[in-house]
Symmetry: C2
Subunit: 300 residues, 2 copies
């Protein structure tokens, strides 16, 4: 399974970066291949100063070895070995009318001291962070997520949509990071789902990503915008930074376990503002967004 | 003691904000008075878009009540009451030649269920974060800190300078946030220092702040700078955000215990950049700074 899934995310990285380069039309991804001293490594692909994408990364990694101590505590195990691989992407578009997107698909295996596989699971999801809310875009993104989910279980969309709203909650701001999507973790073999079934589900979601996001980009990337709308985008990007550095388990985990910092922090936006006690004007488009973030909606 | 110290920081807030307004010459601090539903409140003073100060805050607060659960765990006590007051300031100058500065002086009291005082301590410090290193400025700042310390104990400067370097360590970047200064905490009554002695020490440091910082601002605020130097400043401000959101105990504590978010996050810089895998040129001024941050120096 680990080879099959790693092969899958290698191909998916190629598919996604080629398509995004075509959409951008100006800049290409720069690739950095890195090694992890304790075992494994990754392929980081970053795009900067494009026509459409101001900054973004589509990264894969496959790491293995002794389970780091912080992870032992986290999983409540001792002296285990592990293998983990995944694809992580974040795209920060230049135009404030185009939403930021995040996606991640990952697979984890844990072994005892004799190298016997004792546990394995999939995790991942994809979610959208708009600066201006086009309801039809939110509906399109969520519908694409639901279509992928429905092929595998009638409950998946509603379960994983809820988990996404819960996970990407910027609690100190009392608002969601964005308008959600899917989030799932610890997808393990069960009576109803074999690991093979989970593989089919996770890759189905992975394959749906471009269809979920690219049509939105194409529709919004050339909309003219004002300086004030750009400022709003940069202020909202500040909330993205706050979520990723204060609440996101994946980011904090990477920072505290000696992960490759530049690959982890590629998720941070290129230009960001913090303005003291900023509030959008009453009944403005900016306030309309905030109202939706305060109270996550059902889009489908 | 609590009334005496709160009176002190109220006066100090006035002294500091008047002086900084005079230095800025364009903008004044905007004041927000807020109340904490569980007891107490504060006076936040923020300056934005000044001639000299792009963003900054000089805030005081005095809060009291039942010790929040997260603090009970932190201090290893149960069902206690507390009083805490302090002044916190962060200033982000516009000109990259002027360093960012942070300072904080605080006093804490803890009571048992019958309202009996069971513990009390002072804490605080002041530290400098330059974007371009003028060695004479670092020496001036540290000398001023040392002079204040030396009046109270021959060990304070070297002890609290080391604590500062340790505390403001951006571990995931393997570099210091800035060039340090003083950091002290849990300054409690002992054989050599009464609480009155600590009060005298902490207020001595508080009184030294303007002398430590303002001459540096005056010297550097009108130095011409390039667009590239501004970009460097914004990238380094990103490291300031990373420290405050990932490592700073005070910030995280405030965010997770329902503190007044806007007063806490006034510490975040106004305009910030994240550039993937950015490295300064060899032997440049930017690299010179990094080298000092990697290996904290003795300035006095």
């Amino acid at each position: 399974m680990k080879n099959k899934f790693y092969q899958y995310i290698q191909n998916l990285q190629d598919t996604i970066t080629s398509k995004l380069e075509a959409v951008d039309g100006k800049t290409t991804f720069k690739e950095d291949i890195w090694e992890r001293p304790e075992g494994g490594g990754g392929k980081t692909r970053v795009i900067e100063n494009g026509n459409v994408f101001e900054k973004g990364g589509v990264n894969i990694s496959a790491v293995h070895g002794k389970l780091p101590e912080t992870m032992q505590t986290y999983f409540g195990v001792k002296d285990a070995n592990f293998f983990a691989c995944g694809l992580s992407l974040v795209l920060h578009p230049k135009n404030p009318m185009v939403p930021t997107v995040h996606a991640n698909w990952r697979y984890f295996e844990m072994y005892d001291q004799n190298g016997k596989l004792v546990d394995s699971w999939f995790g991942g999801g994809q979610d959208l962070t708009p600066y201006y809310l086009f309801e039809e875009d939110a509906v399109h993104f969520h519908k694409t997520c639901k279509t992928a989910c429905d092929k595998h279980s009638p409950n998946f969309y509603s379960d994983f949509k809820k988990k996404c709203d819960t996970y990407f909650w910027n609690s100190h701001r009392n608002e969601a990071r964005g308008i959600g999507g899917l989030f799932f973790d610890y997808c393990k073999s069960s009576e109803t789902m074999t690991m093979e079934n989970w593989y089919n589900f996770v890759t189905e979601v992975g394959n749906s990503f471009l269809e979920a996001y690219v049509p939105i980009v194409e529709k919004r990337k050339d909309i003219p915008h004002t300086e004030a709308q750009r400022t709003w985008q940069e202020i909202r990007r500040g909330r993205y930074v706050e979520f990723n550095l204060v609440h996101d388990k994946g980011t904090l985990f990477g920072l505290k376990t000696n992960g490759r910092i530049e690959s982890i922090l590629m998720s941070l936006p290129p230009q960001v503002q913090w303005v003291y006690d900023h509030h959008p004007e009453k009944d403005s488009d900016e306030e309309k967004l905030i109202n939706v973030l305060r109270q996550p909606k059902n889009w489908v």
